[in-house]
């Protein structure tokens, strides 16, 4: 049963009063964009009282490439290669949502096997992304062994992607209408191998990182997201689930073949950085299970692409849609408007980092100290490129 948070009148989310810098009591410190403790290329403008943060402002735009503008000038098939660049560590969700949106708007349906392969692809992407995140989180708290495991192991998942899609990072695999080509020979064997290894690795990671006294001490109680904050701040995904809000688009609004897969929504109640980290570890394990299910239950053969018009003159009738999927960080959405021409009228990409890295981060940072900022930032799992697009 979905829990509701509602909007409590008592919750104050007005902006803080400006700090009086002239008093000489405070120090302004920029963390980023050139800083080892920042995710990606963004910056935090911190105002400090001693080492306590009394104000945090997020500055974004260092990665702004104007995707939404560029897409308005490229035709539908050309855009399919552009979208994956919007979120670098997780391009597959962009590919899927863009393809799904176009299919909805133009009334094309991807064949069943393609849907399964897409699901497999998304779950593998989730696995790779979580692996990298685990490395990032532990690195942010000063544990440098774990990244050397997980980020290196993520590479084996990327090897699978390379075989499956022809690309390591940017797959450009889920074309509108289906997927580009079939799974390679003996792919299931290699998937099994990698998954078995990953499972073992996660157990090791749990012991070394999650049971680590340093990690526990630093992450417990850090960045608590109360359930009341969830709706006003637009918090989604693991960040919300760690606060006891059971929401998962894969379950609530099933897309692709998620309704044919067995899994439960994982949630926690700790609401702090540790809980979020632990929840993500469990979700990583869930990924492995989902990938295995996909490999087992997928139809062995079948068409991979729907019948498509000539992409050079592909016109889509006027329409508007919002498609979303559950990525590692929560709701990832594409709002798409077509106007009957060969070019899209408007795309808006809603990445979960948009709220997590700005409004939420600015709220949670206050009261923490400078040493924890990096850990807090990672614990919210943000990717700057999807904020600025």
């Amino acid at each position: 049963m979905t829990q509701l948070t509602g909007h409590s009148a008592s919750l104050d989310f007005s902006q803080p009063e400006p700090v009086d810098m002239s008093s000489g009591k405070y120090v302004k410190l920029w963390q980023g964009p050139q800083h080892p403790g920042i995710t990606g290329n963004m910056s935090l403008e911190l105002t400090l009282d001693g080492d306590e943060i009394i104000e945090c402002k997020t500055h974004v735009g260092y990665l702004h490439r104007a995707f939404e503008k560029l897409m308005e000038g490229r035709n539908y098939i050309q855009n399919f290669t552009v979208v994956c660049r919007i979120a670098v560590p997780e391009p597959a969700f962009n590919e899927y949502l863009y393809a799904e949106g176009l299919e909805q708007l133009s009334g094309i349906e991807a064949p069943e096997r393609a849907q399964w392969i897409r699901t497999l692809n998304l779950e593998m992407m989730r696995l790779a992304s979580f692996m990298m995140w685990i490395g990032g989180q532990s690195g942010a708290f000063g544990l440098y062994t774990v990244p050397n495991w997980t980020i290196a192991y993520r590479d084996y998942v990327l090897d699978l992607f390379e075989e499956m899609t022809g690309g390591r990072i940017y797959h450009m695999y889920m074309v509108p209408g289906g997927v580009r080509f079939d799974l390679p020979k003996d792919f299931d064997k290699r998937v099994k191998e990698v998954m078995d290894g990953a499972e073992k690795l996660l157990d090791q990671v749990e012991r070394v990182m999650y049971n680590n006294v340093v990690f526990k001490a630093r992450s417990k109680g850090l960045g608590i997201i109360t359930p009341e904050m969830v709706d006003p701040y637009g918090i989604v995904g693991p960040n919300a689930r760690a606060s006891g809000i059971k929401r998962d688009l894969r379950k609530d609004e099933p897309y692709l073949v998620y309704d044919q897969l067995d899994f439960d929504i994982i949630s926690g109640t700790g609401a702090d950085a540790y809980e979020r980290a632990y929840l993500r570890l469990q979700e990583t394990r869930q990924c492995i299970s989902l990938i295995r299910q996909c490999m087992d239950r997928m139809p062995r053969s079948g068409p991979l692409q729907a019948e498509m018009p000539n992409v050079l003159h592909w016109k889509i009738p006027p329409g508007e849609t919002y498609v979303k999927a559950e990525c590692t960080r929560g709701e990832y959405g594409y709002f798409m408007v077509t106007d009957g021409t060969e070019y899209i009228r408007r795309v808006f990409v809603r990445g979960p980092s948009y709220t997590h890295a700005i409004a939420v981060m600015e709220k949670l940072a206050v009261g923490t100290n400078i040493a924890d900022i990096a850990g807090l930032m990672v614990s919210l799992h943000t990717y700057p490129p999807e904020i600025e697009r």
Binding site: T81, G167, M308, N310, V311
Partner: protein
């Protein structure tokens, strides 16, 4: 804090005994996966330079650059893609789009340089070390960015079609035409190949947009015979259409016909809106075939007063008398001709130059004369008994059928030849109820006739006997019959590398009896209407004119075009000759209009 948490991190030591992740020599050990999207490979000999990769590339990373080696080859634009790796994103859309299937990606991925401008190369032309890489991304066979198969054209079944002279092809309906038009990739190779340079991609686009008025306007810019060409054009455009390389070429001819079918003849004037400003000069055109009428149309548009002289009783030339009604019904031809006439072109039928009116008087009366008298004399087979009364010419049979006369062919017919006239004559004979045997010197693949024509003839139960050389024609016991003696031939390779030559096998001779023999092995010109002096002044080789750049001849005021002045002998070339002669005549008669233009060009 509990002790377990404190000790747990020391678990890392366990990994000291496991296999490390590190790959020792990554560059050598890890080639890209078998479907990796690495650097481009283009098989330049297969590539036709259609430029689709350039069109689809959203990064503007691909330029089409001329490559000497490939310029001027048939069906090849002479251009090859140059990749700029300062732009490329390795999405491989170019590979998916590649019509020739020549483009693929290797699994090579390492390229470093100190100079950004280095990252540019013409794949397949400039040597690269990954050129022979077998692995890498290729398009999956089932995946297409454009529909490769043609929309099926509805046709009369062979049984229905031989019942009469109804048009065999039914034509696309709007829905089908839209779908077929959607397949076009707008490369423009058809435009370049078409003798008349019709704006094919543009009028196909007008079908997609449903704007038939625009389509008609575009066609009339270069061709005043769209209804005719939409049915019987030899369509060199389709033979170079790159979509045909890995699928079926676009049905350009049927789409052209579709536009004409959709526009009512009485709307032509409104749509085309040919405003004519009279310029007071007169031009005579000899021969109301496609060449002559095309010249007449474009001259009339420029304001000339045009008279067309025609020996037959109706205009159209070979289109009317040489093409049977099941391919080109009179209604189609008349639609084109009527519009030309409606602009004020005067056609004088039943007027033969040389007998009814002399060529010299035309030269005196008009400011310019355009000759396009075509090829009307059947070529000789050069065998004994050729003048037998039961030997008919293919052209004559076709003309009789077109005029509704009975050519008197009987019930068992042999047709000699492998060109379109032979096929037409055979199929006409089938429709007149005869059993038809086609005798051809070479193989089916050598036949000059359209492959579709050949297939349709076969479907209509015409027997084709190949490698059969006629030797002699003899009287039969029954005087309504004739005996043909023919021998089997072997194809012998030409040591000089030309096309194989059939050699008669003296020991394998056959004699067959037929009701008549139709000879259709080619035609020649009849230039008797020109006096000896005039013929001498006009450069004539092998019965054909060799005109200059603007279809002009060495005799002032005389321009020539059509079958009698080109080597291709098809309608579309004649139409272009007429159009071009109109330009030439205009330049000749009104040079003042062009002086500025010429200066610009020079």
């Amino acid at each position: 804090m509990n002790l377990k948490d404190l000790l747990s991190p020391f678990y890392v030591w366990q990994r000291a005994f496991e296999k490390p992740y590190t790959s020792m020599r990554p560059i050598e050990e890890r080639p890209g996966s078998p479907s990796y999207r690495g650097f481009h490979i283009n098989v330049a000999d297969t590539c036709v330079g259609c430029g689709c990769c350039h069109t689809i590339c959203q990064n503007d990373a691909i330029d089409m650059v001329p490559v000497e080696k490939y310029s001027g080859n048939k069906g090849d634009s002479g251009l090859r893609p140059r990749f700029d790796y300062g732009r490329c994103c390795w999405c491989a859309l170019c590979v998916d789009m590649c019509t020739a299937g020549s483009l693929r990606l290797s699994n090579e991925y390492i390229w470093t340089s100190r100079e950004p401008a280095d990252f540019m190369f013409v794949a397949g032309v400039e040597e690269k070390h990954w050129q022979d890489n077998e692995l890498g991304y290729r398009r999956e066979k089932s995946y297409h960015l454009y529909p490769p198969r043609r929309i099926e054209m509805e046709m009369l079944s062979p049984d229905e079609s031989i019942e009469g002279f109804d048009e065999v092809v039914k034509g696309y309906d709007v829905e089908q035409a839209k779908k077929e038009a959607d397949r076009c990739i707008e490369c423009g190779m058809c435009v370049a190949t078409c003798p008349a340079h019709m704006d094919v991609p543009d009028y196909i686009k007008s079908i997609r947009d449903g704007d038939y008025d625009e389509g008609l306007r575009l066609m009339y810019r270069t061709n005043p015979f769209p209804a005719t060409c939409g049915r019987i054009c030899t369509r060199r455009c389709e033979s170079v259409c790159p979509v045909g390389l890995q699928g079926d070429s676009i049905a350009i001819r049927w789409l052209k016909r579709h536009i004409v079918d959709q526009v009512d003849a009485k709307d032509y004037a409104r749509i085309l809106n040919d405003n004519i400003e009279e310029n007071g000069k007169q031009v005579a055109v000899i021969g109301a075939g496609p060449g002559g009428l095309s010249a007449a149309y474009y001259l009339r548009k420029k304001g000339y007063e045009v008279s067309v002289y025609e020996a037959q009783d109706k205009a159209g030339g070979m289109l009317r008398y040489g093409v049977p009604g099941y391919r080109l019904p009179d209604s189609g031809l008349d639609k084109d001709i009527n519009y030309i006439v409606s602009l004020g072109v005067e056609i004088r039928n039943n007027t033969r130059i040389g007998t009814d009116i002399s060529f010299e008087s035309l030269l005196n009366d008009y400011d310019a004369v355009f000759l396009s008298t075509g090829l009307s004399v059947p070529s000789s087979m050069r065998i004994n008994g050729e003048d037998h009364p039961r030997v008919l010419s293919g052209l004559q049979v076709l003309a009789d059928a077109a005029s509704g006369r009975d050519p008197g062919i009987g019930n068992k017919v042999a047709v000699i030849g492998g060109g379109n006239v032979a096929m037409d004559a055979s199929r006409v004979s089938r429709r007149l109820g005869a059993d038809v045997t086609i005798l051809y010197r070479r193989r089916i693949s050598d036949m000059p006739a359209d492959i579709e024509e050949i297939h349709e003839a076969q479907e209509e139960a015409c027997t084709i006997v190949t490698q059969a050389i006629p030797v002699e024609i003899m009287d039969a016991p029954d005087e309504k019959q004739v005996i043909i003696k023919w021998g089997e031939a072997e194809m012998v390779q030409d040591p000089k590398g030309g096309r194989p030559r059939p050699v008669l096998q003296e020991d394998r001779m056959h004699e067959d009896t037929y009701d008549c023999i139709i000879s259709a092995i080619g035609q020649g010109s009849n230039l008797d209407y020109l006096s000896k002096e005039v013929q001498e002044q006009l450069a004539i080789e092998w019965g054909r004119f060799t005109p200059g750049e603007y279809q002009h001849t060495s005799l002032e005021k005389v321009f020539v075009g059509g079958d009698v002045a080109n080597r291709t002998a098809d309608a579309i070339s004649a139409i272009e000759d007429g159009h071009h002669a109109a330009r030439g005549i205009d330049r000749f008669l009104r040079p003042e209009m062009y002086t500025e233009l010429d200066q610009e060009i020079s």
